[in-house]
Amino acid sequence: IQESFDAAFRDVAGQFERFVKELFPGGEGRLVLTDPAHPLEAGIEIEASPGRKRVKRISLLSGGERSLAALAFLFAIFTARPSPFYLMDEVEPALDDLNLHRFLRLVAGFARDAQVMIVTHQKRTMEIASMMYGVSLNKDGTTKILCQRLEHPEVPPDPGDAASP
């Protein structure tokens, strides 16, 4: 069990650094084992710092920056140990337009090899989907669902550095 944790941790930590660079242009981050001497119980610290800033502790990050740091951690696990299917429930409400755009580009990347389902209220997230499940309440307070295929889902263009503030 321990070998597979060590190998998984190394892969995830490597991917985490990649996703932090993607989500925090100019920033950096890493995953640190709290007690490398006792690998069986060691915990995982998350460090992330946006571009142009010095802060390391995630408690000093802003609301949106915290979402991005957590997404980088989860996406790193998804990439290091892929699954055929991912489900995310309202993970992007705290993101501004530019970060939402970066998030959607990464999601479109995952959807090339896997099935991705996202619960959302954001119109821009709906635009990248090829199927929409509309959930509503019946008169008696129970759930009904209608589904509808969507025409040309847009793949978010590359925001490019020009768009960064």
Binding site: M117, V119, M131, Y133, G141
Partner: protein, 165 residues
Amino acid sequence: MFLRQIQIRGFKSFADKTVLEFIPGVSVIVGPNGSGKSNLVDAISWALGEQGARALRGGQMADVIFAGTPSRPALGMAEVKLVIDNEAGLIPVPMSEIEVSRSIFRSGDSEYRINGKLVRLLDVQELLSESGIGRALHTVVGQGQLEEVLLSRPEDRRKYIEEAA
């Protein structure tokens, strides 16, 4: 390999039998507050073997059974069936699709089935771990979970990687 279909009956706000077809690529789940979007997410996690009642926002496991509304009586059981596409043979069984189902009665006992045959939870977990779908922790990000990942203690974050290893 992907989730092809779900059938839900008596699970949370899904009083009537609901059948949804799924496709590869990106899908979105949308609708008003309280209509049942996160209940759909919980139905999928539960069928994949989720064991924590708290992770399903209830007190006990039997809280997932439809509790009734002012105009509809409560039900006595809940059942969720997932049909998983296996055209690519990722799951080492000679079938192009596999049905995994879970049901629960007021008494609290859960029953698991694979292609209609009664099995143990362990059998379901072994079947799924081959495919990478694994348990929900690694592929399902519940509502509010991003903040939970950041607020949790370093030892608890380890579980995310152990799950996926």
